[in-house]
């Protein structure tokens, strides 16, 4: 299907932050997790574990505990001593409240969801009442004032560690008055809360037991350790037919290399995360239906959105970090080569710019214009636009000081194809159209969401994806209610809405020639919508019938970017973390029904096994894991890789474990 010259980029020093704590909301089937940098992520477990929302972090925020109330209220508490409730639509803190007890180390909500308890640095426990739109301080349970019912002393560890203090990192209180504790001596202990006596000790680690989680129906406990293991205990009867039950250590999972700081259990899986930054969803095979997407071990390492923007003409890449932006110019070569060859780099890639953000809030989105002259980024508190001048080797950057007042914060930023307009998806679910030029920036129009017509609640969701057509006529937006709206930029009118599909769009793009909108969803479905005709295209219908999804089901991660080949307009290039593929829309799809092949393996397959030349789907998994794939001019591909080993090398050393022979 074609020969491409590939810029293989590995200099995007993307480093995800370690996972500190998480909470699973079984009513909403969503997982909230907090990272060490203060950011909060929400994963939708019923929608292919898609990373639905990301609340950017803040330098002053350090989260130690996270808690759901109801199905849509999320609270965190951290070492700055504050309790934060988040606005899950606008993706920013709703309010913060000081507990006045110093750093908060732990938080818990009662099962009726009427009260919060926060454990503070000064030794006190603060009780807060949960009200519909806020929480209110109620009582302070001081160490002296409180009346302890039982006092349990956890003994020190086994021989050799007896001189070290034992720290209880975690406790859980079961409804049958059993207390579970995990401590720094590697023990998981079960206590009788009424009598204050030890029921059972399980030594699970030579190091600390850092996290504990009890399943909703209290028949399973999981514990995460410093060694990277997750140990499951189950309440089982030792004999069949016996009514008496015991906590029995059953499974041990080892998917982490570092501290497992957070564990939780869903109906079908054990979810764990820790310092090695990855979220692991490990299915419990006895609880999943066979052969569903739930039965696959999933590791979420990269965010389910693109952190790279690309200016195609000047070959510039903009990398988004939480605290800065980096602008790189790609290298080049004078020679041409055959497929499979590596060409000598005659012009090295250049880091043109390193742009530190202002303020404490982390960058939530960024973009670069197609021409490479404009850079915009946003935090939860502000939007910044920069003009870039690049004469030979001199780079000058000027901040556009006077931005229209409507611009407060953005969930998504996008320049038009001719770089004359900036589209800002605001936190209020509107889209502002700003015309940018050297002289001034002017607010042109604001598209209001039409969805409130259909949704009587009035709560419209902010846009998380934007796509503009190459001819400057169309703008599409996708929001977290799975609505995709099409606006006519010439007439500044809402054009139509794509039929709502019940999975979040993960990427979308408008074809430069046909103006068809191509959308991929979190569940790996792909649709093509004819904007002018306001209907799905024939190709899209055929695709649904033939079932591209069958082949794509293997992809564990969502598609994060779609682009088109200007040389061959029928070619669509899309990628996820593990591969990128080219779909030729002009070729018949029925080849997909048969087996599909990776281009890297045909050498050992015989002639008859070879994929047919007219196969519509070509897959390349040579480069992985992928953060970004884009097509530049003249058959140049840019591939941004981030080898996991590079991420691991930046992590602190894991706890030393005695291995045989060392």
């Amino acid at each position: 299907m074609g020969e491409f010259k590939v810029h293989r980029v590995r200099f995007f020093d993307f480093m995800p932050s370690g996972i500190r704590c998480m909470a699973f909301n079984s009513k909403a089937d969503r997982l909230a997790l907090a990272r060490l940098d203060g950011s909060v992520e929400i994963f939708n477990f019923s929608n292919n574990y898609f990373q639905e929302k990301v609340i950017p972090g803040n330098d002053s925020r350090s989260i130690e505990a996270i808690c759901w109330v109801g199905c849509d209220r999320l609270f965190t508490a951290g070492l700055n001593g504050e309790v934060v409730e988040y606005d899950l639509e606008r993706l920013c803190p709703k309010y913060t409240l000081d507990a006045f007890g110093g750093p908060i180390w732990t938080a818990a909500c009662n099962s009726e969801e009427t009260h919060f308890a926060f454990g503070c640095e000064d030794g006190s426990v603060k009780l807060f009442e949960i009200l519909p739109d806020k929480i209110q301080f109620e009582r302070n349970l001081d160490r002296q004032k409180g009346h302890s019912v039982q006092r349990i002393l956890v003994d020190r560890g086994p021989a050799g560690t007896r001189n070290k203090d034992c720290v209880v990192w975690n406790v859980a209180f079961l409804s049958d008055y059993t207390i579970v504790s995990g401590d720094s001596a590697g023990k998981v202990q079960l206590w009788d809360a009424n009598k204050g006596t030890l029921i059972k000790t399980h030594l699970v680690s030579k190091w600390d037991v850092l996290s504990l989680s009890v399943s909703e129906n209290e028949d399973s406990i999981v514990a995460g350790t410093s060694e990277g293991t997750v140990v499951q205990f189950q309440l089982l009867s030792p004999k069949i037919g016996d009514t008496e039950t015991q906590w029995v250590r059953t499974r041990t999972f080892k998917h982490h290399t570092h501290d497992v700081r957070a564990v939780t259990e869903t109906r079908t899986a054990v979810v764990s995360g820790g310092l090695d930054t990855q979220l692991v969803i490990c299915p419990l095979m006895d609880k999943v239906e066979v052969k569903s997407s739930e039965s696959v071990l999933r590791k979420v390492i990269f965010p389910h959105r693109s952190l790279v923007s690309c200016a195609k003409k000047p070959s510039l890449l903009l990398f988004q970090f939480p605290d800065q932006l980096e602008l790189w110019r790609l290298g080049g070569t004078d020679t041409i080569g055959k497929p499979g060859e590596s060409l000598p780099v005659t012009r090295k890639p250049e880091k043109l710019l390193q742009l530190k953000r202002k303020g404490d809030d982390h960058i939530c989105c960024s973009t670069i214009s197609e021409c490479g002259h404009w850079i915009a980024y946003s935090t939860v508190s502000s939007i910044r636009l920069y003009q870039l001048q690049c004469d030979n080797n001199n780079i000058s950057i000027t901040k556009v000081s006077k931005l229209p007042k409507v611009l407060r914060s953005a969930h998504q930023l996008q320049f038009s194809a001719d770089s004359s307009k900036l589209f800002v998806a605001s936190e209020q679910a509107t889209i502002h159209v700003i015309s940018v030029s050297r002289s001034e920036c002017k607010h042109v129009h604001t598209f209001k969401p039409k969805s409130d017509v259909f949704l009587p609640t009035g709560s419209s969701a902010p846009v998380h994806l934007l796509a503009a057509s190459a001819d400057g006529q169309w703008l599409t937006s996708a929001n977290r209610h799975c609505e995709i709206n099409v606006y006519n930029l010439k007439k500044l009118k809402h054009h139509c809405m794509v039929p709502v599909y019940n999975s979040l769009p993960s990427a979308m793009a408008i074809h430069p020639e046909t103006n068809n909108l191509l959308v991929t969803h979190a569940d790996q479905q792909m649709f093509e919508f004819g904007i002018v005709d306001k209907q799905y295209t024939d190709w899209s219908r055929k695709l649904q019938k033939e079932g591209l999804h069958r082949c794509r089901l293997k992809w564990g991660t969502p598609v994060t970017h779609i682009t088109f080949n200007p040389q061959a307009p029928s070619q669509v290039i899309l990628h996820d973390m593990h591969m990128f593929c080219i779909i030729d829309q002009s070729l018949p799809l029925d080849g997909l029904k048969a087996q599909f092949y990776s281009q890297l393996t045909p050498k050992d397959t015989s002639e008859t096994d070879k994929p047919r030349k007219n196969n519509a789907l070509k897959i390349c998994n040579k480069y992985q894991p992928l953060l970004h794939v884009n097509l530049l001019e003249d058959d140049w591909l840019v591939v941004v890789e981030r080898p996991l080993i590079d991420i691991h090398s930046q992590l602190p050393a894991p706890v030393r474990q005695k291995k045989f022979g060392t």
Binding site: G2, P349, Q599
Partner: protein, 718 residues
């Protein structure tokens, strides 16, 4: 290589034998490899156990009767079969005592020979060419026997084979100087007749031997001129009627005067033949030799002088040669090894480019004429090409003879004149090669006879053709050494593939003893030392900025931390000046690179004096340091010795002269250095042995492709 072992006498020859007739009619294999049946011309048939040299049984025809064909053993019945008085057949067993009383059948025609086959009925060949199987003959002894041969045609030799359970009989006849060959097949009866062709006046075949291989009979024919020809007889000839059988020259024995009269040939395995009654060198012309020749390389492999003169009788049975000479029948065990070029050239194989630069004498075996003949024979075609070839060979032969005539007794300049056109047109053929050797031998003779005659340039030209070998002109190199012609000696060392160790050693001795001053005027090929330093220049042993330091035993740490303090003990710092001159080193390099066999070289090395040994050792040590300091194991230059060759020579010298070196005070330092070096090498290797496992694992690791932060690649999506 072939070897003749010490022989022993099996039996004496009967009294009354003459100079021409040994009295032995034939020797046939007995019931196993250790038994033979000896048929005397008189009237006795004796069975011998060879290893015991003892007769087991003997039968004699009565007075007046004469056994006329060699007795054979009927392999299937265990009976002996013989014929006396031409047509009386006798069959008997071991237990029969009285020959008169055994089975007797009188045949209607005279028998030439009986041939026994191990798993088939014996074949009876009548004198007039008819062939019968024994059982068929016994069924009707008086049956009429046809006459195949014409009048005056006499059977000279016969042999039988078994091919695919089919008995075959091959016999040669002679009629008034012309030779014919008959191939008789039985069941069905087919007879093929071939004309061997004559070889000029008075030259006739005197010995035959044939082997069957790959459905093709190879007949070797020894002519009285001393030539051994090879004829290939196909078992399935295409044409009917009498055919001419082409022959190819395999070997030309140096028959000096006249023709051979009594000689015999026997083919041994692996391209070797045994010849008795022919001289092996032209100089002696002595015919009383048993020789084993390699026909592939035309080299004499072994020879033995037979006392008392030979009778030209030779039999071969089960790895032993039976030859009559003087008054005895002698058994000589032999051994032939498959000859390879490496074996023929000696121990060392020439490596790298050297093979190209100095092509040994006869490398292109494929173009050998007998191969062509075989090809033609197999296809059954006699093309014009082969005739043309024959013509070329004939003209070549005459021109060589002409040249040989011309260079007799003329001056040096005239020799050059005569040979110039001959050498300038140099077709590649064995005949040309043999011709070159003849010319060289002729010149050699003149040089030896006339001390003033030494046509150096001609000899150099001859050598440079690369087609001379030591065995083709023995004494050449010794003459050159005698004349102190080091230039030519170097050429010979470069071009002769088969210099005997004794001569190599003589060269070495001469090179070592020559003073550097004497070499000033000699032009020597300096290619082997072209990139080496001249004498007296020291060498910085630095590779990649690393100066290798000898690891001293028990003090390696100290050594490593302060390498500069104790430089004097380092191997690499010693004797980095070349102990010999540039030209001398070039000559010595040729010696080091020559091929040799250790066991043959060692006794000759002992002839060197202690001074020479020390000098040579110093030079070898210098070479070793030079080459070991380099990452490559070969010194620069096209013809430089390899490190293996150098170490082999060091070992050889030490082996040969260790006692002398230990006693010589001037060798003390040298030996101490060598010792220290070897010790450190042993330590190094034992240390390497310890990490062997690790190193092996390292090589197993798949070389991960190193990808930097940025690269540009080309991919194709299929």
């Amino acid at each position: 290589m072939a070897e003749l072992y010490e022989g022993f006498t099996l039996c004496g020859l009967a009294a009354g034998q003459s100079r021409e007739n040994s009295g032995i009619l034939g020797i046939e294999p007995g019931r196993d490899a250790d038994h033979v049946i000896v048929t005397g011309a008189g009237s006795t048939v004796t069975v011998y156990k060879v290893s015991d040299q003892k007769p087991l049984g003997s039968w004699a025809a009565k007075q007046g009767q004469a056994v006329t064909c060699p007795a054979v053993l009927h392999g299937q019945t265990g009976e002996y079969v013989a014929v006396h008085d031409r047509n009386v057949l006798r069959i008997w067993r071991d237990e029969d005592i009285n020959f008169e009383k055994v089975f007797k059948a009188t045949l209607s025609a005279a028998v030439s020979r009986i041939h026994a086959l191990p798993s088939s009925e014996p074949l009876v060949l009548f004198q007039r060419g008819a062939v019968r199987q024994l059982d068929a003959l016994l069924a009707a002894p008086q049956q009429a026997v046809e006459e195949v041969l014409s009048e005056e045609e006499v059977i000279r030799w016969s042999s039988c084979f078994l091919e695919a359970e089919q008995p075959l009989l091959l016999f040669s006849t002679e009629k008034s100087g012309e030779c014919f060959l008959y191939l008789q097949k039985l069941n069905p009866d087919v007879l093929h007749k071939y004309n061997i062709g004559s070889e000029g006046k008075g030259v006739c075949p005197i010995g035959f031997t044939a082997t069957l291989e790959n459905k093709c009979i190879t007949l070797l024919c020894l002519y009285s001129s001393g030539c051994v020809y090879k004829l290939l007889v196909s078992l399935h000839p295409s044409a009917e009627g009498e055919q001419h059988l082409p022959k190819s020259l395999l070997l030309k024995l140096p028959v000096s005067e006249g023709v051979l009269h009594r000689a015999a040939i026997a083919s041994l395995e692996e391209g070797h033949i045994a010849i008795v009654g022919a001289p092996h060198s032209a100089s002696t012309g002595d015919t009383d030799f048993l020789c084993i020749w390699n026909t592939n390389f035309q080299t004499l492999q072994a020879s033995k002088k037979l006392a008392g003169g030979t009778y030209g009788q030779l039999w071969c049975n089960a790895g032993k040669l039976y030859v009559t000479h003087g008054k005895v029948l002698t058994v000589l065990p032999y051994r032939c090894e498959k000859s390879s070029l490496a074996a023929a050239l000696g121990k060392l194989k020439q490596t790298s480019t050297q093979e190209v630069t100095s092509s040994p004498s006869v490398l292109n075996w494929n173009s050998f004429p007998h191969e062509e003949a075989a090809l033609e024979q197999k296809t059954g075609m006699r093309t014009r090409n082969s005739k043309w070839n024959l013509k070329i060979q004939a003209t070549l032969a005459t021109s060589i003879n002409q040249v040989l005539e011309d260079i007799k007794g003329v001056s040096r300049e005239e020799v050059e004149e005569v040979l110039e056109p001959f050498l300038s047109c140099s077709p590649v053929s064995p005949q040309f090669q043999l011709g070159l050797a003849d010319i060289a031998v002729e010149l050699l003779k003149r040089c030896q006879a006339d001390p003033g005659f030494y046509p150096q340039s001609v000899l150099a030209r001859l050598t440079q053709t690369g087609r001379l070998s030591h065995s083709s002109c023995p004494g050449f190199l010794m003459l050159v050494l005698e004349k102190r012609d080091y230039f030519l000696a170097q050429l010979c060392l470069q071009h002769f593939p088969d210099i005997p160790e004794a001569v190599t050693c003589a060269c070495l001795k001469a090179f070592l003893s020559v003073a550097d001053a004497d070499l000033v005027r000699v032009s020597v090929d300096l290619e082997g030392v072209s990139l080496m330093d001249g004498p007296g220049q020291s060498l910085e042993g630095v590779q990649n900025g690393f100066s290798p330091v000898l690891l001293e035993e028990d003090s390696c740490d100290v050594q490593l931390t302060s390498p500069k303090l104790d430089q004097s003990s380092s191997w690499t710092d010693v004797s980095l000046t070349c102990p010999v001159g540039l030209k001398k080193s070039a000559l010595l390099n040729e010696i080091i690179q020559s091929s040799y066999s250790e066991s043959f070289l060692l006794p000759h090395l002992k002839d060197l004096s202690a001074q020479q040994i020390i000098l040579f050792l110093q030079y070898l040590q210098y070479l070793y340091v030079r080459s070991s300091g380099d990452v490559y194991t070969q010194l620069p230059g096209l013809r430089a010795p390899t490190i293996t060759q150098i170490t082999d020579w060091i070992s050889l010298l030490l082996d040969a002269h260790f006692a002398v070196l230990v006693m010589a005070p001037e060798a003390k330092g040298l030996l101490a250095q060598l010792h220290r070096f070897v010790r450190s090498q042993v330590r190094l290797y034992s240390e390497l042995g310890k990490i062997q496992g690790t190193l092996q694992e390292l090589s197993k690791i798949k070389q991960a492709q190193e990808i930097g932060l940025y690269s540009i690649e080309v991919i194709e999506l299929l």
